[in-house]
């Protein structure tokens, strides 16, 4: 798997979430991703970016264009140095929220993407990477 292009986007305020969605949208359009997959990954990015801001006290998103043979896709890596997630299984459970949300952001994102990895621990910040491949 090869990274052909990458960029880091700041997530510090609400308007940055709009920016995250716009960046992801334009990168996915650039590799010719279809409307359904595009909507899924943009929505997933919106979910994780908001968690980064609301729970992780802000952070960054690294966006990478991927090539794997003839496959093309994007990987989004969200990093924050916030309080971390003490119990990942519980946080991933549909309906669990420690704020006033719907508690569907993490679980929903996992269902919207092709690959989902999460690294987090209490006091150690959170790192979430998601991949969406362009369907052939």
């Amino acid at each position: 798997m090869l990274t052909t292009r990458s960029e880091t986007v700041q997530i510090r305020q609400t308007s940055d979430i709009v920016n995250v969605r716009q960046v992801v949208r334009s990168w996915c359009l650039a590799i010719g991703m279809g409307l359904v997959d595009l909507t899924k990954i943009v929505t997933a990015a919106s979910e994780i970016a908001r968690n980064t801001l609301d729970y992780g006290r802000g952070g960054t998103m690294l966006i990478e264009e991927l090539r794997d043979g003839i496959r093309a896709g994007v990987r989004l890596t969200f990093v924050d140095e916030g309080p971390g997630i003490p119990d990942i299984a519980r946080a991933m459970t549909d309906g669990y929220t420690s704020g006033g949300g719907m508690g569907l952001g993490l679980g929903g994102t996992k269902r919207l993407v092709d690959d989902f990895t999460i690294d987090s621990a209490a006091g150690a910040g959170t790192r979430i990477a998601i991949i969406k491949w362009k369907s052939r």
């Binding site: 359904v36 899924k40 929505t43 949300g101 952001g105 679980g107 929903g108 919207l112």
Partner: protein, 298 residues
């Protein structure tokens, strides 16, 4: 800046503080002929900053403006740059604040060095280096403020007001456009509830054709709006859910419950009319180019 040259600079600042300040203020006043900034403010800003510089140069860490010793200077400078950016000053007008200190400082170190050419060269270099670094800090603060202003303006545009339209007696429509995930949503929702009461409507159509992304926060706002409208005695129909949005909502696991959803605003309108016992039919007599459909009592 070496420790030696910062200690020399510190000495000059102590010895010639008032002289430097007076020269700086008059430079400023000459450079920024703007009604928006009072001379007394300029004097106060210059005085505070020069005093902070004198303190920073007097202690440990004085040779590096990134150290905590320079924290007070950086903060004051950022504050001045911030307020100038907000008042619409240009970048050069803003940078002038700190850069116009160059000449008074040069003159002071020249007077201080006497005939020692080497000391003068060193001191001049130290002043140049210091003020250039401070000017960069000023510019960064200025740019950041301008960027924030622009971001806020863009945000405002994305959140253009969402009018509540009365489509028919008892039927309201809320065509939503832009992002739905900020404090504006609250205003939009209150607006709708208000209009429901005013018009005594029993159906409200929330059209999301113009909403590019429906994530869980957007969905939560929609559900809250529907629930609140229900409490006011009105049923909501959500229209404009495009196929890709519908799929995404399902994957997210969002349950819209018993909310009626329709693909288009027109479909939703038909449902709303039917609820009031009305229907849209084509009139037999009107078949020319102006032939139209018009709602009529069944």
């Amino acid at each position: 800046m070496s420790d030696l040259s910062s200690s020399n600079l510190s000495r000059v600042l102590h010895a010639r503080f008032d002289e430097i300040l007076a020269a700086w203020v008059s430079q400023q006043v000459a450079a920024t002929r703007r009604a928006s900034i009072a001379e007394s403010d300029v004097r106060a800003q210059c005085g505070e900053l020069l005093d902070a510089m004198r303190k920073a140069l007097g202690g440990p860490g004085r040779d590096d403006i990134q150290t905590p010793a320079w924290g007070g200077v950086r903060e004051l400078l950022q504050r001045v740059s911030f307020s100038r950016a907000q008042q619409g000053f240009s970048p050069s007008e803003t940078a002038t604040f700190i850069l116009s200190l160059k000449r008074p400082l040069f003159e002071a170190v020249r007077a201080d060095s006497g005939n020692n050419a080497e000391a003068l060269a060193d001191a001049t270099w130290a002043v140049t280096e210091l003020l250039d670094q401070l000017a960069l800090i000023s510019m960064e603060a200025y740019m950041r403020t301008r960027e924030e202003l622009i971001a806020r303006q863009q945000q405002d545009m994305l959140e253009l007001s969402t009018p509540v339209v009365k489509l028919w007696e008892g039927v309201l429509a809320l065509p939503m456009i832009g992002t739905l995930d900020s404090s504006r949503t609250q205003v939009v929702m209150e607006n709708l509830l208000q209009r429901i009461v005013e018009t005594g409507s029993d159906v409200a159509i929330l059209d999301i054709t113009g909403v590019p992304t429906v994530d869980t926060l957007t969905a939560q706002h929609l559900i809250k709006t529907v629930t609140a409208a229900r409490l006011m005695g009105a049923e909501c129909i959500i229209s404009g859910i495009r196929p890709q949005i519908a799929q995404t909502i399902v994957h997210l696991g969002v349950d819209l419950g018993d909310v009626v959803t329709k693909a288009t605003l027109a479909d939703a309108f038909k449902v709303a009319l039917a609820r009031s016992g009305l229907a849209v039919t084509r009139m037999k007599s009107a078949q020319g180019p102006m032939g139209s459909t018009s709602p009529s009592a069944r």
